[in-house]
């Protein structure tokens, strides 16, 4: 009973981490940069979904669609104002700029959305169903499926389609890619839009299990980055797998050793894993092609 419920909890949590971590993967493979406000993007998705779907009472599918479109716009703004001006000058200041952008967004939402955490009810999270003796909401099964589905789609899109290959070409050699007629700026901008959409989707999926508030994404953002690194940020599969491993580890350690040891054990394992496999579970070593 303890094991089953821990495994279900772990897989559910892990796929949420994986979903946000995929956003780190997407921008990294295209531009070698990441958006450190992924946690805030996740929060944005949930808050917008709440405002449109619950406060304004729009039909849920429409609310989710508009929320995700606005998340994509946020990604474009992040890329244009917080990443491009620095990355194009060869500076690493986008690192701090995206962190700062996330803090600005969190606080803007605090002032506009309000200070109190709000509940985001969902039909998929009202009645638990019995799974091997442990209770689970249908939504908890949707999240891993969505995560795996998106990882598969990303993998296929990047490796099997023309657009995907064009995106990968961008990171290998920007100038050559440009000479081959690939619109580099558009490619990078779209990868940021996609990454914030993934985070926003994660936020919308998590919200009913959690509550909606302005700093709900902070911890998720940090854990998701650990997951991205652990999985090998260059591999969509690796990232998703690492998410599941991380979530499982968290839940199992809590179940068997007690919550006091969770963070100590989990992060120690992350360190050991990275020492043994510096490129992550499924990542490839970075090769600079000259």
């Amino acid at each position: 009973m303890l094991v089953v419920s821990a495994i279900i909890s772990g897989l559910g949590l892990g796929s949420m981490y994986g979903l946000i971590a995929l956003g780190f993967h997407v921008t990294y493979v295209v531009s070698n940069t990441v958006n450190f406000s992924q946690g805030s993007s996740m929060m944005l998705g949930a808050v917008l979904g709440y405002v449109f779907g619950i406060r304004l009472g729009w039909p849920m599918p429409l609310a989710i669609l508009i929320a995700l479109i606005l998340c994509a716009l946020f990604g474009l703004v992040v890329e244009r104002t917080l990443v491009r001006p620095f990355a194009e000058r060869g500076s690493n200041a986008w690192l701090m700029a995206t962190v700062a952008g996330g803090i600005v967004l969190d606080n803007s939402v605090l002032f506009t959305f309000g200070k109190e955490p709000r509940g985001f009810p969902s039909v998929l999270a009202t009645k638990p169903i019995d799974l091997f003796g442990a209770g689970v909401y249908p939504l908890q099964l949707v999240i891993p499926l969505a995560g795996l589905g998106i990882a598969v789609a990303l993998h296929l899109a990047l490796n099997r389609t023309r657009v995907g290959k064009a995106l990968l070409a961008v990171v290998q050699n920007k100038d050559a890619a440009q000479l081959m007629g690939i619109n580099v700026r558009l490619a990078v901008a779209s990868s940021f839009a996609l990454s914030t959409v993934l985070a926003g989707l994660a936020g919308l999926l998590i919200a009913p299990l959690y509550s909606v508030h302005s700093d709900m994404g902070t911890l998720f953002g940090i854990k998701a980055f650990a997951v991205a690194i652990l999985g090998g940020i260059t591999s969509a599969w690796g990232v998703m797998l690492a998410g599941l491993v991380y979530g499982l580890l968290e839940a199992l350690v809590t179940a068997f050793f007690g919550s006091t040891y969770t963070q100590i054990v989990v992060f120690s394992v992350v360190i050991v894993a990275l020492t043994l496999m510096p490129n992550g579970l499924l990542g490839r070593a970075a090769v600079n092609k000259v």
Partner: protein, 394 residues
């Protein structure tokens, strides 16, 4: 052709002088009032608590001023936001005492902020009245000359009350603890252990969880396996609701006896239908309260703050009630002392024999060995019905 005209030096100096005169003139004008300071969370997640305290203090001050004020002066409240940050709270307290010369300080919801302010209050001999934060060491701080008083719950006594309630109401034999992983949780871990020890009761286990935890099932499963028959819950509103949701998912129907965290927000919205199962402690409730004083206060609140329409708009009422009684007790002491000097007010607080307050009739509320006006007998257990906090009859 230069079109810009330069401001002559004389005018600039005049401007400066005028500005300076206005700046310094304002405190001079305001000196006719007797100033009291409040340092509380007015922004951030706990902003509602600050609002409640301001409301309670303001109604009491209105009543005092209507009767002619204190020592012949009108009472004025100065509010500073601590943003739940101890460092900011300490700076604000310093500013209020040294610049604004407040006669006494009131504290807010956050125990760490109050703990940061109290040593300063003791050093400067300014009475500090806690009206929300329950941390035991706020009033029991070990200072030789202690200026910290409180009209609120005290963790140590709350824990005794929680254990007593669990035993009386549910016949608890092997309770488990699910506590937030921060100093507040730790302080109650100590208190609960001591309270159980005093009753020679064992406990099934102690589990901690984080504010950001989505899934508390692993912790709760451990407590269930250890045979917990009642759960003690200590956490703020959002994390408390995660515990309730996790219990729902496990279909584990176990009695939950809680500190007052759930009262701090929209608990029933966050936790769903099972929110009503959580029985939590309060010092006061408007609902089911027939006392004329409670009715009069609610009317006064409705008149002063039109956005208040029903009892659901003044949850949790503890902040308002504690602040209201705390203000009147301080006012009584200032009147008795006939002075705004801290040591004299402190001595006068000890001399209050009887005060017919809102929460109860206080008999000798403060003594040199007890700076807490409320005791374990003054706590009530409540639950959420919809948006409203209702008292439970034991």
């Amino acid at each position: 052709m230069p079109t810009r005209t330069r401001i002559p030096h004389v005018t600039r100096r005049l401007l400066l002088a005028a500005t300076a005169a206005t700046v310094f003139a304002v405190p001079a004008l305001a000196q006719d009032t007797l100033k009291l300071g409040l340092v509380a969370a007015m922004s951030g997640q706990s902003a509602k608590s600050g609002e409640a305290i301001v409301r309670g203090l303001s109604i009491a001050i209105d009543e005092i001023n209507a009767k002619g004020g204190l020592l012949g002066k009108k009472v004025e409240l100065l509010v500073r936001d601590d943003e739940s940050n101890p460092a900011k709270g300490a700076v604000a307290a310093r500013e209020l005492v040294q610049r604004e010369k407040v006669v006494a300080l009131f504290g807010g919801l956050d125990t760490p902020v109050s703990i940061a302010i109290v040593p300063f209050a003791n050093q400067n001999k300014v009475p500090f009245m806690g009206v929300w934060a329950a941390g035991t060491p706020i009033t029991r701080n070990g200072a030789a000359e202690n200026y910290a008083f409180r009209v609120s719950a005290v963790d140590e006594l709350v824990d005794v009350a929680l254990v007593e309630y669990a035993v009386k109401k549910y016949g608890a034999k092997n309770p488990g603890m699910i506590l937030i992983n921060n100093p507040w949780g730790e302080s109650n871990e100590k208190g609960l252990k001591a309270a159980l020890e005093a009753r020679k009761l064992p406990y099934a286990g102690i589990e901690k969880f984080e504010t950001g935890d989505v899934d508390v099932v692993p912790q709760l499963s451990r407590l269930k396996q250890a045979g917990a028959d009642v759960l003690f819950l200590v956490a703020n509103v959002a994390p408390s609701s995660q515990v309730v949701k996790s219990l729902d998912r496990m279909s584990w129907d176990v009695p939950i006896v809680s500190h007052w965290g759930p009262a701090g927000g929209r608990f029933s919205e966050l936790a769903g239908a099972s929110a009503a199962k959580v029985h939590f402690i309060q010092t006061f409730s408007f609902s089911g309260n027939d006392s004329p004083k409670a009715k009069a206060l609610f009317e006064a609140l409705r008149k002063k703050y039109p956005e208040i329409k029903s009892f659901a708009d003044v949850t949790p009422a503890v902040g308002i009630a504690n602040a209201y009684d705390g203000m009147h007790l301080i006012a009584l002491a200032i009147g008795k002392a006939g002075s705004t000097e801290g040591p004299k007010i402190r001595a006068a607080l000890y001399e209050i024999d009887k005060y017919e307050g809102l929460i109860k009739t206080y008999a000798k509320p403060f003594t040199p060995t007890n700076h807490d006006a409320l005791s374990a007998q003054d706590y009530i257990f409540t639950y959420f019905k919809g948006d409203e906090i209702l008292p439970l009859t034991q």
